[in-house]
Symmetry: C2
Subunit: 329 residues, 2 copies
């Protein structure tokens, strides 16, 4: 990757997730100078405002880096948000409505700030720093509590008219299907997110068809998380495996749709579910793609798991601010 | 629109459809100097090769224009095709496999030739010459015998890695639904194209639930075309109307998906079905969008019928070659 920053310039990448916050200070070569991670949920998270905690995490990362002079901050945040102004439009989860996140951080740290959707910056990080930087057309899909997506067309992140393009989790894949968090029915997220999977597995446990799950986490959806699901499958819980395979196949079908629409060269899959069960997910995703993408469009398309884990977001956000500071033209 | 061509330059737009061929000669101001249309199916079409007939149509349009010196030819053709090389990859309908259409026409007429997908050039024409030229992000959907799509992101046609992006008709909208022409099941095209609609209406006629259709065209799908369907609905055939409304709603649902994925500012609908029944189609499409697009993404999106009819393709193709001759940088 071409070096954009000047020799002494330092930048910070910030990733604001539903469950954690992460800030990392980088030098010109994207070497880590300092980093800090905090939970955004739970007891500790309830003290003070979300924006206050972001500043705290940023300051802690800077302190670990020896408090260098920084030149810009890139932020990935849950949306919808306006990437042009850095205003978060509506994130009930974090208590934000029309919140000027970029301006707040710019005032606090006295440097330029760029804000983009968390899944966009994750996709951007995987694109720039993963194994697919040679591809000009990329889709990123991140199944977790919800299902987010990022789209790169001809080397540029797609924001669309609203600024919030890439809501692949809200493709309707089952007309009159189950309710989704967005209020409509049958979204991909409603049949294939961690919550959709946990719901089915909880029902199995309630019927005593998933004894490992029942014994280890009961029937509370909040406890049925990616790690324990992977363990139950390893323990031989075949109906649990069936539930996960069906969800992953739906993601594969949706991926096939995206290949037909956008013709990407690579589709990269991140998020907790895929990280916990990469082989199973990639197998079913590939099956879904083979069944639903047109042969000419799916030829030579690379379908691969994300490589950078939690660092994709901070790296992508840092790259965005580096590009903003030194635009290539 | 900015004038790209020099004062004396003339260009030709060609639209090769499954049922007709159209060529129009334009001057710098996109005024029509000559035009020719021929059927591409039927008895006349069976004489000679497809490429021979294209040359004939082009020569006839040029003759009507007084045989001026031309500077370039833009062509819209059914795909898949490679827009970089102008090679048609596979169009069984026209008898082409790996056929170098651009090279053939460039040799024949001695001018630069650009070839793109027929629906892409139709969308491009509606974008450049319709009511939406102020929009940077546009989707075009053309339901007919099949369902094609064209996508413009940030002012540029999306071709993707394969060159054949925009196959919106092959989004799977009903897992395990009816067979599609592409061999898979449950594509939008399999539930909402003219053939999908005709199939349902033929069944109604066979059961004597659609007497107007039965009397006027029997139960042969080939005869159940957009015009007669519109007449049957006007004659009060309520189950025929129900079939068309359901298909149009599916198109609306798929449009909602595309809005969630791409966040366009305008979605334009062309093709024979929409032209024959614009009010009914736009009503159901709007209902589908309201049900399936996220509120923030569908806000202020313009959903509108195409304006240029058969001329969208030749105009879009002509604009493409004008841009190729005089690229803006």
């Amino acid at each position: 990757m071409k070096k954009l920053l000047k020799a002494n310039e330092k930048i910070v990448g910030v990733d604001i997730g539903g469950t954690k916050m992460l800030a990392t200070v980088y030098n010109r070569d994207f070497e880590v100078l300092g980093t800090c991670r905090k939970k955004s949920k739970g007891k500790a998270a309830k003290q003070g405002s979300t924006e206050g905690r972001i500043v705290t995490v940023l300051r802690a990362a800077l302190e670990e880096a020896g408090n260098p002079k920084i030149h810009g901050i890139g932020v990935g945040s849950p949306g919808p948000l306006d990437p042009n102004t850095g205003v978060i439009i509506d994130t009930p989860n974090l208590g934000w409505k029309d919140f000027p996140l970029a301006d707040m951080l710019a005032n606090e740290f006295g440097v330029p700030v760029v804000v983009d959707n968390d899944v966009n910056v994750g996709t951007y990080g995987e694109w720039c720093f993963g194994d697919i930087s040679d591809c000009r057309n990329v889709v990123g899909i991140f199944p977790g509590t919800g299902i987010g997506g990022g789209i790169i067309v001809d080397g540029k992140m797609v924001h669309g008219f609203s600024g919030a393009a890439g809501e692949v989790g809200h493709m309707t894949v089952a007309l009159d299907g189950p309710y989704c968090g967005c209020g409509k029915r049958g979204c991909l997220e409603a049949v294939a997110s961690r919550i959709a999977i946990a719901k089915e597995i909880a029902a199995l446990a309630a019927r005593e068809d998933a004894p490992y799950i029942l014994e280890n986490c009961g029937t509370d959806l909040a406890n049925i998380r990616s790690g324990i699901i992977a363990k139950a499958i390893k323990a031989g819980e075949s109906m649990v495996e069936g539930v996960v395979r069906q969800a992953a196949y739906y993601i594969g079908m949706a991926t096939g749709n995206l290949i037909n629409i956008l013709s990407p060269e690579a589709v990269v899959f991140g998020g907790g579910l895929v990280e916990a069960m990469p082989e199973l997910f990639m197998e079913e995703i590939n099956r879904g793609v083979a069944d639903h993408a047109m042969p000419f469009l799916r030829k030579n398309v690379r379908i691969l798991p994300a490589k950078l884990g939690d660092n994709a977001g901070v790296l992508g956000a840092a790259q965005l601010i580096a590009e903003r500071l030194h635009p290539e033209k």
